[in-house]
Amino acid sequence: MKFLYKDLLNFLSEKPAKELLSEKLFQLGHEHEIADDIFDMELTPNRGDCLSLNGLARELNVFFGKVQPYKIFEGDIPPLDFNFKNLCKDACPKISFLEIEIEDGIALYKPYLENYFSLLGNNKVNFFTDVSNYISYELGQPTHCFDAKTIDNQLIFENRVCDESFKTLLESNINLEGKNCIFSVDNKILSLAGVMGGKSTACSSQTRKTIIECAYFKPEEIIGKSIKYNLVSDAAHKFERGVDIEAQEKVLRRFIAIVQDHAVIKNFKIQTFNDVEHKQYSIPIDLERVNKILGIDIEKEKYLMILNKLGFEINNNVLNVPSYRHDISSQNDLAEEIARVLGYDNIKNKPIEIKNNLNENIKHTSKVKNFLVQNGFSEVINFPFTSVKDKKSITIDNPLDSNKSHLRRSLKYSLLENLQFNERRQNDSIKLFEISDIYSRDDHINQEKKLGIIISGRRGHNYADFSKKLDFNYLNQILNEGLDNNIFNIEEISRADLKTKKKDKIFYTEVLIENIPPDIYKDYSFNKEKINFIKYQPVSEFPSSVRDFSFSIVDFKKYNMVIELISNFDDDILKDAYFFDFYENKKLQEIKVGVRLIFQSVLCTLSEEEIQKTIHRLLKPILDLEGVSVPGL
């Protein structure tokens, strides 16, 4: 909801600066952003009563006082004998109809009405609809204007099963399905109640006689309809959150006053169908309870003053809740009212001593994880949705899409996707694991915690492991060595069905966590102090380039210097560097050191020139050393 700063000021006795107004709105729990003189409110769903200038002013009354800046028609309104039948009084316990007929000629909009359109960016439609929209902004009550000449028989409100098309006043065709609250004439749907009117009965710029419907619809009957039919409407937003059941007559009197401001009224009549008497809700005054909830010691006088200014009536030992506050029903609600006005940040902190009947923490999996991490495996987390199903799969009734319509029964396919993703990113040594709950269904829903591990590629990025492959023996040795039984059953995943040119073998194992003996990873406890909140570097989406160099060192005194120069070399485009080869050629009295340099930029694909520039910076000081060379360079 957007409002103009100066429009709200008109409703307040004091005229706070924009900054102070903003501060108090935040204090009361009303988030917003400000652009120039426009406040864009983001109200919580329980505060539908604040979706208007009048509603916000009621809140701010406690700080700045409230005035009624607008006039309403105070005189008698002749009765209307409207042909209407309410077939669902439970969904619409109160509804009023105002018939207004005006002379030709509508004056230029007065500033209060004109500003609503020109300064807040709302579109004008026609006079009666414009007034209706403005009143909703001012008082929070949606109204709907029918062109009177289009209602030629009994108007019926009902909540019935529909299976028909309906053209909205925005000219979109909606296929109504299931139960909907509607207005109809001769069984033809005229409007989707509380959401949007229909084209066939909409007012136009030629309309001179209108019937204004002003109702209280139960929120439960409106919720979900605007999303179901993709109809965004201010009315639905307000009715879903609840409007003031006592406000209808005042709103229609205000309607008359605005029309009078702009046109000559020929006649007007009103009729209200009030089928359920609104029962005022009351809460006992219990200051002690409120003080206990908040941990404060507010005095009774102040407590009553605050609530009174928020619209609560004090009646002996009870507080009458205003008809627009659907969110208030308990002492805790009243405590929140007091706290909001005092300011949450002004309530003094009091230390707490936690006592606890429970002391057995869940056994978590940190030791298994730490063991794997120490051995070079990285943990991944995948979404559980998959298209793969079997007879025990759990089906999602409303999936995001058809490829995500089941819960996975194994971690295998997720990890295989992760492996292929990293292969496509030129990663040649991949060791991944995931631990997750897995669900299946027979008579019951079953839950199991599983560990999945996948490997492929080189064993590592050093001269000891570079030429070795991750294989069955590697995984078996790491996981099963020292265990009485082979807990981890390792399988090779064929690449035959994978769209890849890679040839490295893929090995996979999956095990129930509960099958892993609890004591085998006892040396891998989680270190609480270990977490290091590094500042992460964005990952490049551009290809990397690899360059290998083999250094020949015949002057052994230079060896340490060469290693140091390479190890300490740093450059923005050097992603990684490691020694993939080390060889002592005793026959030739030579040491060979192989270095792999991987270049990548986060900004662009690197040119050969950029790469060579960096290589030159690395090699120059090394090749300047006597007795060090790169054969073939």
Binding site: G295, K355, N357, N370, D397
Partner: protein, 241 residues
């Protein structure tokens, strides 16, 4: 150094993997709360509507229960839990106060765009005893936030709305660029929720709070795109060693 005997091959530094950053943050938060006296408990990700919504005072008509917000499974008999709060219900039904539990894990919402994922992680805590007050809740939340972001961080409490707490608050921290960022939701447990769990709300009161793990991880690590956590990209994951 003139012979091979003097040559040390290049050092073989251990090639470590990494625990996923979301789990690192999750474990950090759980450990923190355990240090304060909370006990870590767990619960299922597939929940009944009763525990996920009804017992928490989330009414049938609440928008969160619509098909477009919640994943329903098994012929609409169950839901993928939309928050970790059902664990609170299970704990209250199982144990008598005083009761201090923390629960962490995956939660699911039917949402998938640049800033929302269909699965994310929450950590939450609950404490029930005689005379638990809002002022005590504030003190605890201050301690938690100082432990995460440092004791210099500026904190703001704002009134908010959760069906299962009353009063409810959202807590913001002031970022380096002067903007308030929401990091936590909390409140005094709604007495209706206590009564739903057969706890006498005239004798006992409680506090509850919840944090989005991804939110904390993004702020602490400086990750701008939440989707980066779930690409399983080793170039990303291996930064968190």
């Amino acid at each position: 150094m003139s012979s091979f005997n003097d040559i040390e091959p290049p050092k073989l530094s251990p090639q470590l993997g990494a625990i996923h950053p979301i789990n690192q943050v999750k474990d950090f938060l759980i450990d923190l709360l355990q240090d304060y006296g909370f006990t870590a408990v767990d619960g299922p990700e597939i929940e009944s509507e009763e525990f996920n919504f009804d017992m928490l005072n989330i009414k049938k008509t609440h928008p969160a229960r619509q098909m477009h917000d919640t994943f329903y499974v098994n012929n609409k008999t169950k839901v993928l839990r939309t928050h970790t709060s059902p664990v609170q219900i299970r704990s209250m039904l199982d144990s008598n106060p005083p009761l201090a539990i923390t629960s962490a894990g995956k939660v699911f919402r039917k949402d998938d765009d640049a800033t929302h994922l269909p699965m994310f992680h929450q950590v939450e805590g609950m404490y029930i005893d005689e005379q638990v007050t809002f002022s005590q809740l504030k003190d605890l939340i201050h301690k938690i936030i100082y432990a995460i972001f440092g004791s210099e961080i500026q904190i703001r409490f704002r009134p908010s709305y959760f069906p299962f707490t009353e009063p409810s608050a959202e807590v913001d921290i002031l970022s380096e660029n002067g903007k308030w960022l929401e990091v936590l939701g909390c409140g005094i447990i709604n007495p209706l929720v206590l009564e739903n769990c057969k706890i006498d709300s005239n004798k006992y009161s409680g506090l509850a709070f919840g944090l989005g793990v991804e939110r904390i991880a993004m702020l602490k690590y400086g990750v701008n795109d939440i989707r980066d956590f779930y690409k399983s990209n080793l170039d990303f994951l291996n930064q968190f060693k």
